[in-house]
Symmetry: C2
Subunit: 202 residues, 2 copies
């Protein structure tokens, strides 16, 4: 069984959302699966790198807003968020994912899509355990158990370890797709990652 | 006559170098020409944005070095520089370009290629007027006049105005290709810029 592709992303990253809609098909075209690795760029990587959040960076923030809307138009995707509004704290969403992965591993991909859809397509707040539990959850998950899971020490530890592992793997941006140890940063590099998969690299 | 494509770049940017080798053919495929806009990311934009130089940023610097070498391998390009070594000050090279554009406009594209080739393929230092004048210059340019031009107040003013114009256009990274007012940042977006040119946008 070939190794899964490691898909590192942040729930508040619009480019991570765009990539999440394509990465499973990309992997399947090459007999691979996706290992989902949500992380927290703001909490961890910005501190390591000493950078500002993308949308708060002069010039670059304006470009990114324009580029995100341009891409959404092209793909016919509706974005339910105002890109000038605060994105809030992605920590509860990321904890929810790792709690689901631990206790309902068969629902982990569905949980990624449910969280991303709620945040980017519907514009919902995900910054508290209760908010995360109130989205349209994958069938089989109960809101009360999700809220308790998000608030648990277990989820906190799982997320902390996952963020450390992403940083140890060199991840600094969302999305980053790691193909057999080779990292490709950026939604706009999915094509190159696929070329690497198809050819075995260069 | 359709408007030229505005190609903003920094001579110390490896992605700018890669793009410089393709942008004229891209433009020509759509009946366009290239307006060359060298700028200084380090001197101007980093101050506006408050960021560190790309290669000095933890995690991201390591990724970029890997990605640049990966791309060079793929394209069969020889890089004559150690990516861990200091890139030096691109100001003299950028001044040389604007001086040539002013006094020998027919040589401006050749001057971009001569400077980029000297810096990235041959690994030459370009951080003084004399260093810039000692590269393989386009036929028609004399080393002594180039050295004097780089050191002139005229070149200084031309470059300062050009950098201001790039920042006013929202440019924050190299390369940025502006197609009829629509900016595309990154070597990996040339394909998207061409799609915009071909379709008129979306």
């Amino acid at each position: 069984m070939p190794a899964p592709l490691h898909f590192h992303f942040d729930f508040i990253s619009p480019y991570g959302y765009f990539a999440s809609l394509q990465v499973e098909q990309l992997a399947a075209r090459h007999g691979r699966t996706v290992e989902w690795r949500p992380m927290l760029l703001g909490v961890a990587v910005m501190k390591v790198m000493g950078l500002k959040p993308l949308l708060d960076t002069p010039l670059k923030g304006d470009y990114v807003r324009r580029d995100v809307l341009r891409h959404a138009r092209k793909q016919g995707l509706h974005l339910g968020r105002d890109l000038n509004a605060s994105v809030g704290n992605p920590l509860p969403a990321a904890r929810a994912f790792y709690w689901v992965r631990q206790h309902h591993p068969e629902l982990q991909a569905a949980m990624v899509h449910a969280l991303y859809h709620a945040f980017w397509a519907e514009g919902k707040d995900l910054s508290t355990p209760e908010a995360v539990a109130s989205i349209a959850l994958p069938p089989g998950l109960l809101p009360a158990e999700v809220a308790a899971g998000v608030a648990s020490d277990e989820a906190s530890t799982l997320l902390r370890n996952a963020v450390s592992a992403s940083i140890a793997a060199g991840v600094f941006g969302s999305p980053t797709l790691v193909v057999d140890g080779e990292p490709f940063w950026g939604f706009d590099r999915l094509g190159e990652a696929e070329e690497w998969l198809a050819t075995g690299g260069w």
